[in-house]
Symmetry: C2
């Protein structure tokens, strides 16, 4: 607790939680990029939204793509934590499918910005990072596809191609980001119920 000379703490001061200014910037940037698209969003737009000048913003990031990269990685980790980790232990594939859909819909509806960006703006990243993200996304797609294959081998899947079916599942779940409004009539849980009902009816043999 003694005062030191060299290491003046860069933290606290305002009520905000220390180093999380960076996090706030990412969150705000995600929201704007989600609304306007990555290319149509200028560094100035983001800076103004967080009460900084363009130059000031560069203190927190090395550039625009760096910001996008961080947002997309954050979104990926959200998906992994909220969908894959929670569902991979579920043995019953019917139940697993249901939970995958529900968890992902809630995530899309509530954490809207970053997840929508993840699905839309990957190709704005430089090659190396893009490849990395795509690989990580493929892991998730594979997780869903495997669940559908499990269902198929137990005779529980409709007469459908599991590959296309998983793409349809994705399109439906991610589509929620396009029309869901947090301040609208339905809660994210209600939407999740509705989407799960629709998808499970379409995918599963009764």
């Amino acid at each position: 607790m003694a005062t030191q000379t060299t290491k003046r703490s860069s933290k606290k001061d305002h009520n905000g939680t220390a180093e999380d200014r960076t996090a706030e910037i990412c969150r705000t940037a995600a929201q704007i990029i989600c609304e306007k698209g990555f290319d149509a969003t200028s560094m100035n737009d983001i800076a103004v939204a967080v009460n900084l000048t363009k130059a000031g913003l560069y203190y927190y990031t090395t550039g625009k793509q760096d910001l996008l990269y961080r947002i997309i990685n954050y979104a990926m980790s959200l998906v992994e934590k909220n969908v894959i980790e929670r569902c991979s232990d579920i043995q019953n594939p019917k139940e697993r499918l249901d939970q995958i859909i529900r968890n992902h819909v809630v995530l899309v509806a509530e954490g809207g910005g970053p997840i929508a960006i993840l699905s839309d703006e990957v190709n704005c990243l430089p090659k190396a990072q893009r490849r990395e993200v795509i690989r990580r996304k493929r892991g998730y797609l594979e997780f869903v596809r495997q669940t559908l294959r499990d269902l198929e081998s137990e005779g529980l899947l409709q007469d459908l191609d599991p590959d296309i079916a998983s793409l349809n599942l994705f399109a439906t779940v991610l589509g929620v980001a396009r029309w869901y409004r947090q301040d609208g009539a339905m809660s994210s849980q209600e939407v999740a119920d509705e989407i799960a009902k629709f998808l499970c009816d379409g995918l599963l043999r009764e």
Copy 2:
């Protein structure tokens, strides 16, 4: 056939069909914009692709947004012609739903570019035009919704909210543009079969 002084025909010359240079430009522009996104596409990109300089391109269009506006209107008219006109006379709502899906999927798969742009880049238009396009799109959405309501009132719809169900239908059909490749293994008809099977199973009571 006589030669006239003032009215030098601006047509023909090369084998191309007269005034359709404009159409060719729109088609090419649609393809590029679909691949790279509207903001990421420069007028120069388009000009080069049609063997013109940037300045030359401006002979055919008043600007970038004008190009987008024309592409989107063209896409809208494709949807109206290929889906609404062909299906609105079908009395049996089950059959109508099936045909809506099939026709729309084939259109998305084959005429990919413009339709994908229609769904993705509307917000790149200036306000007035954007509103106009959105209104027109709403007409189509309403057509689908009404079909689902017809099914509902005949007790043929699953226990689903027709509004959300129609959004899910849209997401699935438009999602095809994101993964379908013309040179891939499946024909657009095969994809349409698969999507129709999936959606009808999910939406209809057996």
